[in-house]
């Protein structure tokens, strides 16, 4: 577990900055339909904000927002969302990941748009979980553990 920083400047700035980074990360994820962005980029930014809190405030305080044990299950859930969308389309007798067969009751083009959104969210979840999990695993063997 990382010890919290001694500098009040680092603590206050990172604490104030993290929510804005997270908000912008969500914007990047959902902006993937209209411009640069998507699940990989947004997920990496969100994970960066969580790691920033872990580095500056220490593992104990940062765990209030995102517990250490959540990271790997979240990554697995992200991959499961992605693969689950594909299985859902197969259950409606479509091809794997052919979003036109999603059971939402819209026309095919809109369904594809929603399918892209779902898998972007799955990718973002996988990225957040994996990056935070790697960081936590690296920190686990720290001296002050």
């Amino acid at each position: 577990m990382i010890a919290p920083t001694d500098s009040p400047i680092i603590a206050v700035v990172s604490r104030g900055l993290a929510p804005f980074i997270q908000l912008f990360a969500l914007y990047v994820v959902f902006h993937g339909h209209y411009g640069p962005g998507g699940g990989f980029q947004g997920g990496a930014m969100f994970a960066a904000s969580l790691i920033l809190l872990r580095l500056s405030l220490g593992g104990e305080v940062a765990a209030y927002q995102f517990k250490n044990g959540w990271a790997t299950p979240l990554g697995a859930a992200g991959v499961a969302v992605f693969a689950g969308v594909g299985i859902l389309t197969m259950m409606r007798r479509g091809e794997y990941l052919n979003y036109a067969f999603l059971p939402l009751g819209l026309e095919a083009a809109s369904l594809r748009s929603f399918g892209i959104l779902f898998i972007e969210i799955g990718v973002a979840m996988a990225l957040i979980g994996t990056l935070v999990a790697i960081f936590d695993d690296l920190v686990k063997g720290h001296e002050s553990d």
Partner: protein, 83 residues
């Protein structure tokens, strides 16, 4: 391999074989179809997103699994075993 790489078409060359609408063997190229029909097919104005997530969705699933596998391997290698 290096000498062949000098004869490859330049980046962004519109006459490159991979950008032709009809290939040399007479089959239709994929790139021109994606550019024309991405917005109509998926109601998403970002062509890149449609290509990555819809036309090539299975590839993106593979990328996600690769990233997740890296996390799992770190978990297995770095976590201290309980005695």
């Amino acid at each position: 391999m290096i000498s062949v790489s000098f004869h490859l078409p330049f980046h962004g060359d519109v006459h490159a074989p991979s950008h032709r609408e009809i290939s040399r063997t007479g089959s239709r190229g994929a790139a021109a179809y994606y550019i024309r029909n991405a917005e109509r097919d998926a109601k998403t104005i970002n062509m890149v997103t449609v290509t990555l997530a819809d036309y090539r969705g299975f590839d993106t699933l593979g990328e996600t699994v690769v990233v997740f596998t890296a996390g799992i391997v770190c978990y297995l290698v770095l976590r201290r075993r309980r005695e």
